[in-house]
């Protein structure tokens, strides 16, 4: 990031000068900053909502129920975190949220899982194996109910907005399986 970030900014300026987009570039800086403020306001609300609900889940039998169903899958995906109960709980909630397409709930659970995994991480400045798997699965993110895509299609007058579901399932599944296989290979390589 310490290299990528400045390079992106410098190339952008350079290209904007060549292509005459300097005014756009200048505006984008102010827009980006105010976009983040707007985003954070919505984000803080959603984060609090789902953190609060998660606190309830953890105190009830819903948690042990989720753990029981997901255990075989999660043990295979995250072999290093098997004995880390707090991390496994957060990962379970993250997995279920991704499945249901509730990104707002997946993020706080995922970040919490990172904190818990970090406690047992021998090299604090490096991502552990389980963290890598967690990040990759959150970037590919299986979508069982693609709410946004259906809503957009409905808003634009599609006669059958939910016809998109099967292609999305196939595509998201292909991406996720690729992510899992490549991550397993990458971790074995090292």
């Amino acid at each position: 990031m310490n290299y990528l970030w400045p390079i992106l900014i410098i190339i952008s300026l350079f290209f904007a000068i060549i292509s005459g987009n300097i005014t756009n570039l200048n505006n984008s800086i102010f827009n980006s900053v105010s976009d983040v403020v707007n985003l954070s306001l919505t984000l803080v609300g959603n984060m609090c909502l789902w953190c609060g609900l998660m606190a309830i889940i953890k105190q009830t039998k819903i948690m042990s129920f989720l753990m029981k169903i997901l255990r075989p899958l999660l043990n295979w995906l995250y072999p290093d975190a098997r004995s880390n109960k707090d991390a496994m709980e957060a990962i379970s909630i993250n997995t279920v949220s991704n499945f249901l397409g509730i990104g707002n709930a997946a993020t706080p659970a995922g970040l919490k899982a990172m904190d818990e995994l970090q406690k047992e991480n021998p090299k604090k400045d490096e991502l552990s194996n389980s963290m890598i798997m967690l990040i990759v699965l959150n970037t590919t993110s299986i979508q069982l109910i693609p709410t946004t895509a259906i809503a957009v299609r409905a808003a634009l007058g599609s006669p059958m907005p939910s016809n998109i579901i099967v292609p999305i399932w196939i595509s998201t599944l292909a991406g996720t399986l690729t992510g899992i296989i490549l991550t397993k290979l990458l971790l074995k390589e090292e």
Partner: protein, 169 residues
């Protein structure tokens, strides 16, 4: 189906509080106590978000992304890939809001049931904003070494986009 999509979140919230109530837990206290953590998380994310949005915003507005996707689009149109969706494929891993706006434009322009419209909706929905996820997850634990986590993530994105293009005819 729209009904189903609308009921899922209220239903989940109701189930959670119902089970809490049934098990005699102080549901409201637990909720308020847990919710505090959401503020801390967002504050922690804020500087990272400014950093990413600044760089991505500059990259988009400079015209460089369009320039690159035009070049690549010119090659890919020979293998039956519609050029119109190339910019979307590029922006998808980088910016969630931009890809939603772009996908909506494409679907509105070409129609919801056309090949291009269907591919755009699929690409938009089938994965998350890769760079954003990696940045905030790494920031959470202040990790310096990523151990190439980006490679499987990006290849998975490419596979999911290529799959979308191949299956929708």
């Amino acid at each position: 189906m729209i009904y189903f999509a609308a009921i899922i979140i209220p239903l989940i919230i109701a189930i959670i509080v119902f089970v809490g109530l049934y098990e005699n837990k102080k549901v409201y206290d637990l909720f308020c106590d847990g919710a505090k953590e959401g503020i801390k998380m967002t504050v922690k994310m804020f500087p990272t978000l400014i950093g990413i949005f600044l760089a991505i915003g500059m990259l988009r507005s400079s015209g460089l992304l369009d320039f690159i996707s035009n070049i690549i689009g010119n090659f890919l149109k020979y293998v039956n890939v519609p050029t119109e969706i190339i910019p979307l494929a590029f922006i998808k891993p980088i910016s969630g809001s931009a890809s939603l706006a772009l996908a909506t434009d494409i679907i509105a322009k070409y129609g919801t049931e056309t090949r291009i419209g269907m591919i755009a909706a699929t690409i938009m929905a089938a994965s998350e904003t890769t760079f954003y996820v990696i940045a905030i997850y790494m920031n959470q634990i202040k990790a310096k070494k990523s151990r190439n986590v980006i490679i499987p993530a990006i290849i998975a994105d490419i596979v999911s986009i290529v799959t979308a293009i191949c299956i929708i005819r």
